[in-house]
Amino acid sequence: MHRRVRNRIILFIVLVLINLALTLSIPPDVSVLRRYNLEPSQILLLKLIVTLPLIAIWLLALYGFVTVYRYASSIRKHKDGNAFLSISTGLGVLAFGLPLQSISVSFLDYMGRTRPAFEPASTIISNYIALGIILTSFYILHKGALQLNQNLKVKEPSTRSLQWQVVFGLFSLLYVYLVFHNPARSHPTEQVAQAAYYLPDWLIFTTVVLPYIAVWYLGIQSAYNIYLYQQRVKGILYKQALRFIASGIVGVVAASMLVRFIASQTTYLSSIGLRAVLLLIYMLLISVSIGYIFIASGARRLHKMENV
C-alpha cells in the first residue's frame, strides 16, 4: 500500500481509539441520567450503542476518502488529477474531522460539566471547531469541483444557476429563522440546561450563521458542479462511475447540513424522548454512510479504468 495512504489510515485509527477511550472513561452526565431515568451502567451501554456504529461510519468515511485519494494520485499528472486531488482532500478533511470533532466535544463537554464556569467557553470552542472543519472541507471540495468544470470549459446556463440560488436563499432564511427563534441560543432556559451558542445575537449572526450559510453554499455548489461535470463529460462508463461520486457527495453535504440544523434546535431536542433522539442520530449516520459508500464505489470504478 502507498506509504502516505498507510500513514493516514494509521492516524485515523489512532484518533478512533482515542475517541473510544474517552467515551468509555469519561463519567456520565448526571443530568442526562436523571432526565432519561437511566442507571450509570445503562449509560455505558447507550454510549456503546451509539459509539460503535459511529465508528463504523467513520471507517466508511475513511474508506471513501482513501479510495478517491488513490484514484486521484494515479492521475495526478493529468489535468483532471489536480481537481480530484482537491476533492479527495476535501473529503479527507471531513472524514478526519469526524473523530477529531468527537474527541474535542467529549473532552470539552466533560470540562464544561465539571467546571460550570467553563461551560460557555467549551460550547463556543466546540461550535467553532465544528465550523472550522466543515468550512475547510467544503472550501477545498468546492475548489476541486470548480476545477473539474473549468477543465471542460463549458459555461453554466444562467437560468439553472438562478433556480438553485433561489432555493438556497430560502433554505438560508429558514436556518436564520430557526436559529434566532431558539430561546436557548444565548443562555440556558428552564427546559434546556445548556445554551446552543453562549454568544450575543450579533456574534451568532456574524461568526456562526453567516459562515454556515457560506459553508452550505460551498457544499451545494460542490455537489452541483460535480453533478454538472458528470452530465457534460464524455464517456458512458466514466459518467456512470461519476454518478456514484456525485450522489455520494450530495448525501454527505446534505447530512452535514441537517446536523447543523438540528444542533441549532436545542429546545426542540430537549423536549423529545431519548428514542426519538437516537432515531434522529441513526438516520443521519446512515445517510452519511450511504454517501461515503457511493463515493467509494464511484472512485473504485474510476480507479479500475486507470489500471486495466
Binding site: I75, H78, N151, V233, G235, L237, R301, L302, E306
Partner: protein, 85 residues
C-alpha cells in the same frame, strides 16, 4: 507518420466515447504495456493487436455485453475505414 497519428487519434476518439478523460490514458497503457511502442507510432498492422487488448481490457470494466460489442465493432470498422465514424 501522419496516417499513424490519425489512426491513434481515431482510436482515442472512439475510446473516449466510453471512458471519457480516462480514454487516452487507457489506450496509451495498452500500447505501452502490450505492444511496447510509443503511443502515436502505431501502424495499421499493430491496430489489430491493439484492438484485441483494448477489447479484453474493456471487458474488465463493464458487464454490459452490448456496450462491449459496440466498442469492438467500432474498432473493427476503424481497421477497414481508417477513421472513427
Amino acid at each position: 507518420m501522419l496516417a499513424e497519428k490519425k489512426l491513434y487519434e481515431a482510436i482515442i476518439k472512439i475510446t473516449e466515447d466510453y471512458l471519457g478523460p480516462a480514454g487516452q490514458r487507457f489506450i496509451d497503457r495498452q500500447i505501452n504495456d502490450h505492444l511496447q511502442k510509443e503511443p502515436g507510432k502505431l501502424n495499421k498492422q499493430e491496430l489489430e493487436r491493439l484492438s484485441e487488448w483494448a477489447r479484453l481490457a474493456f471487458a474488465l470494466l463493464t458487464n454490459d455485453q452490448t456496450l462491449l460489442e459496440e466498442y469492438s465493432k467500432r474498432l473493427e470498422r476503424l481497421k477497414v475505414s481508417g477513421t472513427a465514424e
